[in-house]
Amino acid sequence: MYDIASIYQAVSVADAIRALEADPSALVIAGGTDVLIKIREGKLAGCRLVSIHELGEELSGVTQAPNGDIEIGPLTTFRGVTFSKIIRGNIPVLGEATDQAGGPQLRAAGTIGGNVCNGITSADSASTLMALDAVLRVRGPRGEREVPISQWYKGVGKVDLAPYELLVKIVIPRDNYEGYAGHYIKYAQRSAMDIATLGVSCLVKLSGDKKVVEDAALAFGVAGPVPMRATSAEAAVRGLPVEQAVTAIGKAALEDVNPRTSWRASKEFRIQLVEELSGRALAEAARRGGAAI
């Protein structure tokens, strides 16, 4: 039994937004795998909820727009993302990332939208969405707006979402995935049912002969208070032969990150992981892109 003051089960997106506008302190609950745990912990005890759990028809599923952009409904479960043919065919790295959240039951219930909206640095999909420069389409009473993911995170657990707004689409623009190969490394103590000590997602676009890094995107979870891009590392490897890039990217990434010591892991340990795993992520991404490495 959860200590919930009230729960309103929205019947449509418009209905949910109306309910949120009427009660701005109400919280949105989607898959429930995060919110219910916080209620039980006492952090959100006694809250009022607006449930969008049953809005799958409007908010779930992965589609490809005519312009090639890939649009992910936020209520798509982790499993739904992983097993989407569109994701597998176009952005397998994102499906691999969502396939490493929690365990199978959690992946069947937890949603990618929740993973993005809870604003947590360790969120398994977040670093890959950062690397992909995803765009978050948000709807409120006065219409929709789009937020580039680089502008989304406002601090620990805080995102650019008003109390009366709902995330309605996660958009991956075609230019951001086409021609890129990627790899996500979730570094955690366990191989399942864990939160990342460090998440590393790397996308790479290779030259025609597969020998040179034309472009790279490197993003981290848990290397700072929010998911982040390693822009100086990306700049450092652009134009380098693949093997040199693999060697260089780890050191370069240290310029970008700011991990902290927590009881889960020390700053020094996370820095060692950033350095080591950046190279490994790039190497594997490049291998998948056709590089002989």
Partner: protein, 165 residues
């Protein structure tokens, strides 16, 4: 304030009054007496409360009962066939010595029902991943994997015939 939850549980239509604050695990245990649904952590970390909702294994402790409206729920109590014979997965758990204290057992069997029901064969490593949402302290998962693997293989041989699940 109570609400009426209408759903199908273990093959039978059910209408039951629920408190909207309760989890599906609460409803199944407290209101329907389906005590195979165990509570080990109440936050989705142990898998002991796993049931199938519309064929998908979820942790029923972090699933609100009201979300089950109109859905089909399956628990271990619904696995024996009309003659009372054990489901092949249950039988495999018995015969492979996959059961010790038994507290994680019903939940893992439900995940196994989904695994077997997929009609696919899996490597040992894939099976490890598919049951990784369940914690067990008694078995080291060894005989559980043996049982799940055997159930999958047995079902695979009989593709086309329906299983009890």
């Amino acid at each position: 304030m109570m609400e009426i939850l209408s759903c199908t549980v273990n093959g039978k239509p059910v209408e039951v009054g629920v408190d909207p604050r309760e989890s599906l695990a609460d409803t199944l245990r407290e209101r329907l007496g389906l005590t195979s649904v165990k509570k080990g952590c109440e936050v989705g970390e142990c898998g002991a409360c796993t049931v199938l909702v519309d064929g998908t294994a979820i942790d029923s402790c972090i699933y609100l009962a009201v979300w089950a409206q109109g859905k089909t729920i399956l628990t271990v109590e619904g696995l024996q066939n009309e003659n009372g014979e054990l489901n092949p997965i249950q039988r495999a758990f018995v015969e492979e010595a996959a059961v010790q204290c038994g507290f994680c057992t019903p939940g893992i069997i439900m995940s196994a029902v989904e695994i077997v029901g997929s009609g696919q064969q899996y490597t040992r490593e894939e099976l490890r991943k598919l049951i990784s949402g369940h914690l067990c302290r008694c078995t080291g998962y060894q005989n559980i994997l043996n049982a799940v693997e055997r159930a999958v293989n047995e079902a695979h041989k009989f593709v086309g015939k329906s299983t009890d699940a």
